[in-house]
């Protein structure tokens, strides 16, 4: 077989895999324009009726708003805690700091449903089920690994002598952190923030367990909608979510492209 041929086959396979990965997510886009009254592809013509229904539905708006602020606040928490943790581990760089870093990644490694069950048990005792602080805290903790990972990756590229140089030139630990370390890991912090945000934005399982009656984030309202009735508005919301996520991800990509290479 000639080489050109082989490359063609590999390329075709690669595109198939890529399509298999990405395309199912986009199936909701035509469904959102369906003219039927249930979740299905457009039957005779495309219609905007479900988009109109979505735009005039307060429940969905409340959910968007709820998802948005929970994601923002828990991202903030995850960024601050995760960045400090990563920098601390980097500075200490001992056997123990390696263990701490591994422990920080646990929320990502443990199956979410197991994790959610554990949090639920704890929150029942603490009376935090259905509370804002409870959800924000859970999302902060589960968003933490993303920040720790990306900031640690950024730190790995920093010359440890930069800190020595700063201290040697008279900077206190705080000044060194503020003027030298943090500015050099900003790309890592932003990437981590974006991932932590997306994580909270589409997190479902934990919210199902601890959301109680007060918290219907966007994913949870979709889930309930699918269970109760097959309202095509769900496809509209899903399309919106995909668009929003793509937007955030491309911001992350653009950020990475701009990162100066030394």
């Amino acid at each position: 077989m000639n080489r050109h041929h082989a490359t063609g086959i590999v390329m075709a396979f690669a595109w198939m895999v890529l399509g298999f990965l990405a395309l199912p997510a986009f199936a909701v886009v035509p469904i959102s324009f369906t003219d039927t009254r249930y979740l299905a592809m457009p039957d005779e013509h495309w219609s905007l009726q479900h988009w109109r229904a979505f735009l005039s539905n307060r429940e969905w708006h409340d959910s968007i708003w709820q998802s948005l602020w929970i994601a923002c606040v828990s991202t903030l928490g995850a960024v601050v805690a995760g960045t400090l943790c990563a920098i601390g581990c980097w500075r200490a760089s001992s056997r123990w700091s390696e263990r701490v870093r591994t422990a920080m990644i646990l929320p990502m490694a443990v199956p979410t449903i197991v994790y959610a069950l554990g949090i639920y048990r704890l929150y029942v005792d603490l009376d935090l089920v259905g509370s804002a602080i409870g959800i924000v805290f859970a999302h902060t903790v589960t968003g933490l690994p993303y920040v720790v990972l990306t900031v640690s990756a950024s730190l790995a590229n920093i010359d440890p002598r930069l800190e020595q140089a700063a201290r040697g030139l008279g900077a206190s630990v705080g000044q060194t952190l503020r003027w030298v370390i943090v500015p050099n890991v900003v790309p890592g912090i932003l990437s981590g923030a974006i991932f932590a945000f997306i994580h909270s934005w589409d997190e479902l399982i934990v919210v199902i367990f601890i959301g109680g009656r007060a918290f219907f984030t966007l994913p949870r309202r979709m889930w309930d909608g699918i269970n109760d009735n097959l309202d095509p508005v769900i496809a509209v919301v899903a399309t919106g979510m995909i668009l929003f996520t793509l937007l955030v991800l491309s911001a992350e990509l653009a950020l990475r492209a701009r990162r100066p290479r030394s």
Binding site: D159, R161, L162, Q164, A165, A166, R167, G168, L169, G170, A171, S172, Q175, W179, V180, P183, N184, P260, S262
Partner: protein
Amino acid sequence: MLSPVPEPLVRFANVRKSYDGTVDAVSALNLEVARSEFLTLLGPSGSGKTTTLTMLAGFERPTEGRIFVDGEDVTDVPVEKRGIGMVFQNYALFPNMTVAENIAFPLRVRGVSRGEMNSKVMRALSMVRLDGFGDRRPQQLSGGQQQRVAVARALVFEPRLILLDEPLGALDRQLREQMQYELKHLHQRLDVTMVYVTHDQVEAMTMSDRVAVFSTGALRQVDEPRRLYEAPASLFVARFLGESNALPATVRQHDGGSCAAALATGETVTAVMPVRCAPGSAVHLVVRPEKILLGKAAQASPNRFAARIAEVTFLGDQTRLRLVAFGADDFIVKLANTAGQETFAPGTEIDIGWQAEDCRALAE
């Protein structure tokens, strides 16, 4: 009337450092650095020179002993409070700042006003001949320029002491030589005290007022470059600074500062003995390759031996001969390329010799 002995700027008093509790990285160190001096800590890697500098900077704490700067015990003073300028081998410039911001950094952490900061940064930039480079990023500069920025950053806040940790190690040879002179001239112009770490003996000799030679955690000798070269106190120093012919011998008798020693091949040699060794003890007789007399000149010298030329290498400024002598074939002679210098051919039998004061008997 006796003038009071000036307090040295830096004093290591019985300093010992061990990282793991078993091996000493530095042991029993007593060393003084005079005001306005350029002192180089010279030694192979693992000799303790960098550890010594790191302790002076404050990044490491001595296991034992005290360090004084300007008469003040700084052993427990944190790095940022010592007011010492530091230049690193890999420059350690902050990539998130411009050149000017890098240089301004030590002023910024000290809360210097904006106007004063600008004028000092400008002055520092022109001192290292980088006027107009203030707005560049460090990554846009060449290695030599980056190192100049690092130097400017270390001296902009007018510290009493500047430490340089192998600052020229990453540069190519030509640039390194040029930077050596630039650093030397800066030192002379600014009247600042500099402590410099290197493993390059030429660098040490070029720039230093005094050189401190380290090996295996111990300070072997501190002296002016010329005296270190001409009067090494140990075989290590003789071998580390420049080239040496070292002939194993046994002390027969000694008399004040000189001795008679027998070579393994039987000949007896008269040599200078800086550190007294008892008769019967093993020493090395050390002669610099450029001090060897050949042919007629050798016949008039008190130490005269037969040899055969094994190899002749012309190096431009000098010619290097490898001789078979004293039962080995690695005796080196260097001849300067001067007018009327004889030429030699391999295989020639020749007399070699040296003056007694050019040969030193040194213990291992």
